[in-house]
Symmetry: C2
């Protein structure tokens, strides 16, 4: 009785597992959800989370439509700019998507695909400014909605984004039920989860370490 909602996750080597699995846990439980995990080729994809390996059941060439497209991030996300076939696949799915989304540095991939020109977007705090390389408007919010593009900040922000998206797709009652289902009533043990809140003595070395993963500006 539910309308099918086709939710497509891009998987790629060195992606950050939680970037994908946070929203996946929410969105896969939407009524009518059909989830497809897609990578350059079918098979194992090794994340940058101690090599945790996930399986992509589909190759890019097998999937040409999505209602919701989710692009996770990675320390090395911008390496995908050297994969023109992946960027072209993102552009094609975006033309027909209801929502095109990213988590963390996944927004840099959307940018490399040319989808963020003039678009307000967020990313992991350490690389937020780099969105301007793609003519995006860096926006320091946890979730940024610009037309049908929704970008989430670093890693864990994908959960918040997915719950917002759940409400848009299936209504607030479903979204609240999903939030209760994953018992998402966070109690972060420290007040260190964002650039604004963390102690500067923690920010500086982490920023340097994270930026060293990226190519020079």
């Amino acid at each position: 009785m539910n309308t099918e909602i086709r939710i497509v996750f891009l998987f790629y080597d060195h992606m950050t597992a939680l970037d994908a699995i946070g929203p996946h846990e929410v969105l896969c439980r939407l009524p009518g959800a059909v989830v497809q995990r897609v990578a350059k080729s079918r098979g194992p994809v090794k994340s940058d989370s101690s090599g945790l390996t996930l399986i992509a059941e589909y190759a890019l060439s097998e999937i040409s439509k999505a209602d919701v497209l989710v692009i996770p991030g990675a320390g090395t996300a911008t390496d995908l700019k050297d994969s023109p076939e992946t960027l072209e696949w993102i552009r094609i799915l975006h033309t027909q998507s209801l929502w095109t989304t990213s988590v963390c540095t996944g927004s840099l991939i959307l940018g490399a695909a040319g989808l963020l020109s003039g678009v307000a977007a967020t990313s992991h705090w350490a690389v937020l400014a780099r969105l301007s390389h793609y003519q995006a408007i860096p926006t320091a919010q946890r979730v940024v909605e610009s037309g049908k593009i929704i970008t989430a900040a670093g890693v864990s922000a994908g959960i918040d984004m997915a719950l917002l998206l759940a409400a848009k797709l299936s209504g607030q009652t479903v979204a609240e039920t999903l939030q209760l289902g994953i018992e998402y009533d966070p109690e972060p043990p420290f007040n260190s989860g964002s650039l604004a809140k963390a102690n500067p003595s923690i920010v500086a070395p982490l920023r340097a370490r994270l930026l060293s993963c990226f190519e020079p500006e």
Copy 2:
């Protein structure tokens, strides 16, 4: 220069992916972390999250020690009580662990393994009372520490638990850095993440649906 910290995740068919991947994303980044993902046999493990498949690199028989043992939950977690070899493996690792932990209904597995007798513990809110089947003391908190056993509430609570554990293992500066690294400054879009906060009209049908996954009491 860092002391090795061996972190072992139990993977099993039908587990909830985020139960494992939430703490995994935090703990795998601890200085000196050596992460081992273990299942009955090596190879693909199909989660209950739309069939998302993860790889376990080790079989139970190959791993006999852990500093930190993490047991994720599942809608069908108590099926593992019919796997005496898994429960025995958990007991053996627990004898030498620094910390034995669970997320969500993973605490029912610790209970089935006989580790929670007289122990204060939490679980997913919908099955919290079932901990008393195992002589545990059901405790409605997001994270419960009892000696070296730490249990977390439903699904997303594993992230909070892992950050607490990070501070115990590597100090608060490391934990705060990890929290900032995953930008864990949650903004849940609704006030529906716990039994205490959610609208009763949402709680009742979800409780009924979740309990129907479990065997009768």
